[in-house]
Structure formats: structure tokens, C-alpha cells
């Protein structure tokens, strides 16, 4: 997918979406590609190749691009979306089953295999639910109608007298039934090659039988038995294992390297191509030996690079006014200057990393100049295009397959391992698997951007908010607009020349902007001597934000909790709320503080979430809980430290992510708004936990910490 297409798909593009050209520039020479042993076309889907990779044109494409019914009745549905743990496979399968009126186990969903699937864009921005699910539903509803029409014609019956039920077209009363397979066979083979008939309605929410239910995760059995093959598990006949020689720092440029010591090791393939130096061998152990032998001979030129100790000054002094994005309402400056009371504070947000359990991995295989790559990426079309450009072949000669992958969280929008595996495979004349180490993932992937956020707020004598200013340096513009009613507002996002490669993250900059805003709202409430819930509600007419805030407060019993907290017990409660990507979240948290030790512990978190009509309640609840705990990680300890162009904590032993013992008592309230369109729910629930905890800590001990992670020289998490 090109950048233009990305921008069209995302009405408000995330500024931090990575869109880089290919990283390596290889010297290409015409060469005979070695015939690879044992390859074969894996396509078991009978969709005609001619339809593959045509853009899914919102309903006007032939249905064969989207689904296929085999003679044995198997229904195959096709999507370019990927499954990285968010539940898209199950949800899209539910959508297809719903519209085709079959049980979910009759549907086989093929995801992100470029040989057969339409381009549904990247799997990002919570777009699967509001964009791909409706597209699949429309196509399947159209197929249902075509099958019904075909049955009517074939058996000369009135279409009005037929209905679709349990995967069959039936006469009313069930006297005659026609299986789907029989309707697409023989003379009617072309039925799904037609374009979707216009005006076919999808099944109304009130009639849902599959959507709206807690359909268990599809593929669970393969996961619990270890049978599912993640990208790092893909094995091909004759496959070698590859590694790449990484520079010792971000600024290091390779001056010279001697590959002979590596090549002296039996069965090692070594290649240098410009900045790329890689090795492949029958085992990862031997490949690493080869890399280590070469590393001893490598000479690097290095330059200076900022340190995380000076990060926030660096960002402020490297801000770009030229590319900044401003929004203003009323006369904020005047209102701030003339107010009864004005507060100004600065918040700091550290670089953190997604650190999915499965680091980047890819297997590449060349066959007569055609390239097949299995890799874990959230942007399959873009990675396919990158491969085509890097190896100067047409995209049609690259087949990209994304097996269900071991985590993403916005961190797998790029295809580095795919390019590296393909380069090594071309050299070796055999398939090559490249699996990044954790240290590589922590160093050479990308980060959630760090940020500096300046906030100002003005209160009148009644405790009403009269002006609001929110300036974000570097971390992004998502959720920079306040949901509260304030007459005078100024917001600005200033991109900066920043030291680390940054990109998407779960809910991206709203994790930073919502944190700062919700903490600062509490600071203003405190200054106005008003209960923070009451202070918010006085400034909140947005019905859906109010809805989640009130629901979380009710379940948490906010009013009594607020009164119950007291300094001798060192227990504090706090809340935060917000909206992003069309969904709404509020979290109330309780912390227990030990002032003598200078530590705090999160004991309870209660979250209310609303994303329209709920399509899979159990999965949504799991996504909300996972988001809340992942958000807790950014509060407790997650932070990337760097100096001299090196990451100082590129290991799980040095970068602590949430674990079992960190998990507080969790309560989750899902507001199912069947009257509203469904939107995605795997990102936004991450944004409210951090401010809720920061506010709870303040309410316990009157210590305001204005940074993520939530730690200063007085308090840290245990």
C-alpha cells in the first residue's frame, strides 16, 4: 500500500506512522537463481489468480476475490488483514458466518497471503472492525443473495418462497433444501464470479446470531498443542538459518570487514552488499559463529549521538515549527493571562518498546526469480512493495504470507527481517530463515516516541475551566484535542528531530496526551477544591465520554472510595478517561503506598469501555484487560535508556514488562451500544490506566509525578 492510499484510508493519519523506503540498497547483478528444492504452490484456495491483489473496491469487485465455495462445501473467505493476537481472525470469521448463515467452523479464513487475498490495507489504527468487517459482511451478504437467486432460477421457484438457513437455501417450511456447494457447481459455476448485486442488506444487529457472541478464538487447538506455525516456526526444505552483523551503534558505518574467517567455517554462506553483512548456515549456532568471527575483523566509523539523560532538552531544542500542527479556539492566551488562577506544568514521556513476545522473523525462498516470504508484519502490502523495490522485481513476483503472528501492538509495521532473509536466500540459493534476537528487536526495531508536553489551564472564581493549552513535542497529535468543554483552547503538536527511530504503538500518542491531560485535569480540580469526578462532569457534555466515566465510577463506587481514602492508610484512588479512534474509555484505580520505602503498588483497576455494538464480548474483555495491563507497564518501569548510540537496556532482564505479580484486581465493564456502529477495541483501553494511577498516587500522598514511567526520587513502583 502506498502512502497516498494510507492517508486515504486513515482520515487522520498518525503522524508517527513509519513510512521509510527500503533500508538496504543492494548492488544487483543478473544471476541465475538456483532452483529451490521441494517448493510447490501452496495455494489451496481456488480463487482465480487473475483476481488476486486487486484492490478491494468496497463492494464492486467480483465476489470470488473475497470468498470461494468448494465442491465439498468448504467456504473460504479471504482478507488482507493479519492476526497478531487482537482477534481479527475470529471476528472476520464471525462476520462471514453471520451473513452466510453458517456455523463458524464452516468458514476457512485465509489471511494475508498476497497470492490470493485482496488488499485490505494494513492492520492498524483499529480499522479492522469499522472497515474490513463491514466489507466482508457486504460481500457475504451479496453471496447469500446470489445463492438464493440461483436456487430460485435453477428450480424455477419464487425467490420470495426461499430462505437461507444453516448453510442451505431452503423452501419456506423446509420442504426443499439446496446446499451451497450444489448451487455453485456445474452450469452455475460462475455464480460467484459475478459482481455483488447492489442494495443487499447486511443482517441487522438485532438479528445477529454469531456476531455479538463470545465465539472462542479460532486456532486455539493449534496454539495449545504447539502445532501453530508462527513466522519464526516456518520451516522449508533445505532451509538455512541466517543472522546479520549489526553495527555497534546507531551512528556506526562499516569501513571494512573480512569475511574469510566466517567463510572458513563449514557450510557458511557470507555476504556483504553495501551496508548489509549477513551469514547463513545449517544451524543458528553456526551462523552466529560466522557472524562473531567476522565481527572481530570489522572496523566501524562512529559519530556522536544524544543520550537519554538529555532527551527532553534535546527534543525541546530540536522542535520543528515549520511542520507543526496547530489548532485554536477563542482567545486562549488572553484567557490564560487574565484568569483568576492559572496553572502551567510540563509532563515527560519516555521512549518505550512494544516488545512483542515473538521478535521479527521471516523465511524467504526464491524460485525461478519469484520470491516467497513468510513474515510477521502488520503491513503486508507495504512489505511486499519494499521487497519488490529492494530486489527490483515486479510486485507480482513477490508472494508475501503472514502467518498468525506472535504480537504486534503497532510495532511490526516494517519488514526488515523479510528483506534480510530474502537477500541471504538469494545468495544461498536455498530458503533462509532470519529470526531477530531480543536484543536486535530492542535495538533495531522502532519505539513509541518520547515526548514533552506543556500544559496550561485557567480557572475562574467558580472553579470553571476557562482556557486550555496543550503543546506536544515529538510524541504525536492523537487525542491532543480535549474532550472537555472549554471556551478557549490552543493545541499544538511540534515534530522534533529525535534520536531514536519511532513508529506506531497501541493507541500511539494518545497514551501520552491522555496521560498528561487527565493528570492535569486532576491538578486543576485539586486547585479548585472539587472532587475530580465532579470537576470532569461539570466540563463534559460529550455523551459517550460521560457514559464510560459514569459507568467506571459507579462500578468502582467512586464516591465512597474517594471519601474512604485517607492519608494515614496511604491508599489513594484516581481516575482518567478519554476517547480515541471512535471508542471511549474510563479507568478508576486504587494504589497502596508505603511512604517509608518510597514505593507504591496498584491494587485495583476498574475500566469501562464502549466501542459501539460489541461483536465478540469475551475477546473484547480480554483486549481491554490486556490493554490495561500493557498500559500499566508504561507506568511501572518501561523506559528505553541509551547513550553513545547504544540501547543500554535491550533485554527483558533490563527492561521490565508487566508480569503476573503486577496484575491488580481487574474489573471491566463493557457498554454494548447496539444502536451504534461497531469500532475497534484493542487500542483505546490502554490510555486511561496511567493517569488513573498517577492521580491515585497523588491522592494518597500528595506527590505529583509528571512523567511516564511514574517514578521520581520520592516514589517508585514495587
Amino acid at each position: 500500500m502506498n502512502l497516498q492510499r494510507y492517508i486515504e484510508e486513515f482520515p487522520e493519519p498518525e503522524r508517527y506512522e513509519l513510512y521509510e523506503g527500503p533500508r538496504y540498497h543492494f548492488e544487483l547483478t543478473r544471476r541465475e537463481f538456483v532452483q529451490v528444492l521441494g517448493t510447490g504452490v501452496l495455494i489451496s484456495v481456488a480463487a482465480p489468480a487473475a483476481f488476486a491483489q486487486r484492490s478491494s473496491d468496497r463492494g464492486s469487485a467480483p465476489l470470488a476475490e473475497r470468498l470461494h465455495i468448494a465442491a465439498d462445501g468448504t467456504i473460504t473467505v479471504l482478507t488482507g488483514k493479519v492476526e497478531v493476537g487482537q482477534g481479527s481472525r475470529t471476528q472476520i470469521t464471525q462476520a462471514a458466518a453471520e451473513e452466510l448463515r453458517v456455523p463458524v467452523d464452516r468458514i476457512r479464513l485465509v489471511m494475508a497471503d498476497s497470492a490470493v487475498v485482496p488488499d485490505d490495507g494494513g492492520t492498524a489504527g483499529s480499522r479492522t472492525t469499522p472497515s474490513t468487517v463491514p466489507t466482508v459482511r457486504k460481500a457475504c451478504a451479496a453471496a447469500r443473495q446470489l445463492l438464493l437467486d440461483t436456487a430460485a432460477k435453477k428450480f424455477q421457484l419464487d425467490a420470495q418462497s426461499l430462505e437461507v438457513r444453516d448453510g442451505q437455501v431452503q423452501g419456506l417450511g423446509g420442504d426443499r433444501t439446496f446446499g451451497y456447494a450444489s448451487l455453485v457447481a456445474g452450469e452455475h459455476e460462475g455464480v460467484l464470479q459475478r459482481e455483488a448485486p447492489p442494495g443487499v442488506a447486511v443482517i441487522a444487529v438485532s438479528e445477529w446470531r454469531v456476531l455479538g457472541t463470545s465465539t472462542p478464538r479460532i486456532g486455539s487447538r493449534e496454539i495449545v498443542t504447539g502445532a501453530h506455525q508462527y513466522p519464526s516456526d516456518i520451516t522449508r526444505p533445505g532451509m538455512l538459518h541466517g543472522v546479520v552483523l549489526r553495527p555497534p551503534s546507531y551512528t556506526a558505518e562499516l569501513e571494512a570487514v573480512d569475511l574469510d574467517p566466517a567463510r572458513a567455517i563449514e557450510n557458511v554462506i557470507a555476504v556483504r552488499d553495501g551496508d548489509f553483512v549477513g551469514f547463513a548456515a545449517p544451524t543458528s549456532f553456526t551462523a552466529a559463529q560466522a557472524r562473531d568471527a567476522a565481527a572481530l575483523t570489522a572496523r566501524w566509523n562512529t559519530g556522536s549521538h544524544p543520550s537519554s539523560d538529555e532527551l527532553y532538552d534535546h527534543l525541546r531544542s530540536h522542535a520543528s515549527d515549520r511542520r507543526s500542527r496547530r489548532d485554536e479556539k477563542g482567545s486562549p492566551e488572553e484567557a490564560l493571562d487574565s484568569a483568576h488562577r492559572t496553572l502551567r506544568e510540563t509532563y515527560h514521556i519516555a521512549y518505550i518498546q512494544h516488545a512483542p513476545m515473538e521478535p521479527r522473523a521471516a523465511v524467504a525462498e526464491w524460485n525461478d526469480g519469484d520470491l516467497t516470504v513468510w513474515t510477521g508484519t502488520q503491513q503486508p502490502s507495504r512489505v511486499r512493495d519494499d521487497l519488490a523495490r529492494t530486489f527490483r522485481i515486479p510486485s507480482e513476483r513477490v508472494r508475501l504470507i503472514v502467518p498468525d503472528t506472535g504480537g504486534g501492538f503497532g510495532g511490526k509495521h516494517s519488514g526488515e527481517a523479510a528483506v534480510e532473509a530474502a537477500r541471504l536466500a538469494r545468495e544461498a540459493g536455498k530458503p533462509v530463515s532470519v529470526k531477530w534476537s531480543r536484543e536486535e528487536e530492542f535495538t533495531w526495531a522502532y519505539f513509541r516516541p518520547a515526548g514533552v508536553i506543556d500544559l496550561a489551564g485557567a480557572l475562574d472564581t467558580e472553579g470553571r475551566l476557562t482556557a486550555w493549552e496543550h503543546v506536544n513535542f515529538n510524541s504525536g497529535a492523537s487525542a491532543i484535542a480535549t474532550p472537555y468543554d472549554v471556551p478557549n483552547i490552543r493545541t499544538e503538536y511540534k515534530p522534533c528531530d529525535q534520536p531514536l527511530r519511532s513508529g506506531s504503538y497501541r493507541a500511539l500518542a494518545s497514551t501520552a496526551n491522555a496521560f498528561a491531560r487527565e493528570c492535569f485535569m486532576d491538578e486543576l480540580a485539586h486547585a479548585a477544591r472539587i472532587d475530580p469526578l465532579e470537576f470532569r462532569l461539570r466540563h463534559l457534555t460529550h455523551e459517550r465520554v460521560r457514559g464510560v466515566l459514569l459507568a467506571a465510577a459507579e462500578r468502582f463506587a467512586w464516591k465512597s472510595a474517594w471519601k474512604r481514602q485517607n492519608t494515614p492508610r496511604r491508599v489513594g484512588v484516581g481516575l482518567g478517561c478519554g476517547t480515541e479512534k471512535g471508542s471511549y474509555v474510563a479507568t478508576c484505580a486504587e494504589v497502596q503506598v508505603d511512604p517509608d520505602a518510597g514505593t507504591y503498588r496498584v491494587v485495583k483497576a476498574c475500566t469501562a469501555f464502549e466501542c459501539g455494538a460489541v461483536q465478540n464480548p469475551a475477546n473484547l474483555k480480554a483486549q481491554v484487560e490486556g490493554s490495561v495491563i500493557q498500559g500499566l507497564g508504561a507506568v511501572l518501569e518501561e523506559e528505553i535508556h541509551f547513550r553513545d548510540g547504544r540501547i543500554l537496556n535491550p533485554r527483558f532482564s533490563q527492561y521490565r514488562v508487566p508480569r503476573f505479580r503486577d496484575v491488580p484486581e481487574l474489573e471491566t465493564v463493557l457498554l454494548d451500544r447496539k444502536d451504534l456502529p461497531s469500532v475497534g477495541g484493542s487500542e483505546t483501553p490502554i490510555i486511561a490506566i496511567a493517569p488513573a494511577i498517577a492521580n491515585a498516587l497523588f491522592n494518597a500522598v500528595q506527590a505529583r509525578i509528571r512523567s511516564l514511567p511514574l517514578r521520581d526520587d520520592r516514589y517508585r513502583a514495587v
Binding site: 498443542t225 504447539g226 508462527y230 544451524t283 504480537g407 484487560e625
Partner: protein, 160 residues
């Protein structure tokens, strides 16, 4: 530099020719075709690579292959009895205890080891046993429910 090493893998005698310095995880995945144990960190910090050695959970990324010679190794692939899932596997499915699922084989094997030792663990005991098994999807809530569910299945989980 290779050695011939013999050990019991999922109940069957196996012999491998491997450099003795390689780790068990790599040999399982690259030589024996058992990819259920996962790489997550290479330093014993995430337990995605967890397998059982003589019934005890170990980090296979830190275990040299020569250290398992003569011993008994169980991996996730060995837990199924024909088509019949182990009660812990069933409990993980029933509790929806997986998002991306990459950590699940390690979680299940550690749970199996726990329940063999203690067939009715308290929540605190479960947390203590599983604390080092990382789930980056942070699906800890459902995993805890799965372990409790498996414990309820009683004897079967404890003895298989």
C-alpha cells in the same frame, strides 16, 4: 565439533548429532522439528522456551544440549494423548487464555509441572509459580482463570 547425544523426548528414546554447545531450544526447533517451544529472550527471562526436564520446568534457551543427555525431556507436542488434549490444554481453550498465543506452550508446561506438585494451588501459589512466564499481550487474567480451571479438573491434571 559434534557429539552423539541420547535422551528421552516425549517418552521416546532419541539420538541427535549436535555440537554439544548448542542449546536445547535450538536443537528441538532446528534439528528435531519441534517448534512448540519458542524463543523470546535467550536469557531465561521470559519462559517462552519452557520445557520439562525430568518433570521440572526449565528454560531450554539456557540449557546446553549435552546437559540433557540421559535425561527425560517433555515438550508441548508430547502433551496430547492421541487426539485427546491434556486437561491443562483444555482449560486454556475454555478460559480463552490466549491472544497471540506465543507464550502459551511455556505457560501450559509450567502449569502442568505445578499441578503435578500441587493439585490445588491457591491463587498466590499460581502467581508465584508462573510469575516469570511473560505474556506481552498481558492476558494474565484469563491465564490465571485457566490454571484455576485446570486445577479443578483434579486428579487428571495432576497425574498426566
Amino acid at each position: 565439533m559434534t557429539a552423539t547425544l541420547e535422551f528421552t523426548l516425549n517418552g521416546k528414546a532419541r539420538q541427535v548429532e549436535a555440537d554439544p554447545r548448542r542449546n536445547l531450544l535450538e536443537v528441538l526447533r532446528e534439528d528435531l522439528g519441534l517448534t512448540g517451544a519458542k524463543y523470546g529472550c535467550g536469557e531465561g527471562q521470559c519462559r517462552s522456551c519452557m520445557v520439562l526436564l525430568d518433570g521440572r520446568p526449565i528454560q531450554s534457551c539456557l540449557t546446553r544440549i549435552d546437559a540433557v543427555a540421559g535425561h527425560r525431556v517433555e515438550t508441548i507436542e508430547g502433551l496430547v494423548d492421541g487426539e485427546r488434549l491434556h486437561p491443562v490444554q483444555r482449560a486454556f481453550i475454555e478460559a480463552g487464555a490466549m491472544q497471540c498465543g506465543y507464550c502459551v506452550p511455556g505457560m501450559i508446561l509450567n502449569t502442568v509441572a505445578l499441578l503435578r506438585e500441587n493439585d490445588s494451588p491457591t491463587r498466590a501459589e499460581i502467581i508465584e509459580a508462573l510469575d516469570g512466564n511473560l505474556c506481552r499481550c498481558c492476558g494474565y487474567g484469563n491465564i490465571l482463570r485457566a490454571v484455576e480451571l485446570a486445577a479443578k479438573s483434579g486428579k487428571e491434571a495432576a497425574t498426566r
